[in-house]
Symmetry: C2
Subunit: 124 residues, 2 copies
DNA sequence: TATAAATCTACACTTGACGTCAGGTTTGAT
DNA sequence: ATCAAACCTGACGTCAAGTGTAGATTTATA
């Protein structure tokens, strides 16, 4: 598919796709003589994954350095250990983030309880 | 305490503190004739909370509009219900984010398992 | 009392992540 | 064949979130 369709399907603007390409986050699988970019379905999946990683707070640079891990094919065992390392680091980071969110969550709950108490008290 | 100490204690640069003040995220509790800013302990807590909210992905503008909820004193029951609403919305948001992170986490785990399998296979 | 360190204001600069615009090429529909 | 729509590149603009710098003032210390 061409860039327009990819943009429509993913909700990512074509200029943003250009930009991501320049950063090495994804690349069209062929450009033939004409200059037009042609993408396959994986490109759409990559864009989705990029969005998810962004939501996690990763910068595009950080994403660029890990995105390929999610789309490696089964061939090429070379470097797999390193991939494993990086993935495990990501796992740790994710756990940390979850823990932080949990703490934040109970903070909010405490605040809610406090306010609810105040309201109740005021109503009596 | 003066801005330097606050900066040291929170790890937020004095320039950033100035910047936050301009955005209405926090304000020194007095400035007397001299022009120097003097902060109390609450300022440090506010900076911490700002950091937490940023980590949740809130913009400084959004933070400015909710930060006070966390530091309201017990007086003034007026509007408490609204505060409650906002806090509950935040709670929901937080839950959503936690859920997203969990999904992301199991994604990573799946990838780790896949790669581990590949390595093991290659070693045999 | 001198002088170095901390602080002030105001303005300019930076970086990341895009968006806009202009001028040119390619494609698709008639 | 033509002509609009889609695409290309490159340069510039923008917005958020800061950071840097200069010149002046205030405070702390020897």
């Amino acid at each position: 598919m061409k860039i327009g369709e990819l943009a429509d399907r993913t909700g990512v603007s074509h200029r943003t796709i250009h930009y991501y390409e320049r950063l090495g986050l994804l690349s069209p699988n062929q450009r033939e003589g004409t200059g037009y970019r042609y993408f396959d379905d994986e490109a759409a999946k990559r864009l989705e994954k990029i969005g998810a990683l962004k939501k996690l707070g990763l910068s595009l640079d950080e994403i660029a350095s890990v995105i390929d891990l999610y789309f490696e094919d089964a061939t090429g065992i070379r470097g797999k250990r390193k991939v494993l390392e990086i993935l495990k680091a990501q796992l740790d980071e994710t756990d940390t983030k979850i823990a932080e969110l949990r703490r934040f969550r109970s903070d909010i709950e405490a605040n809610i309880a406090r306010i609810e108490f105040l309201i109740e008290e005021a109503e009596r």
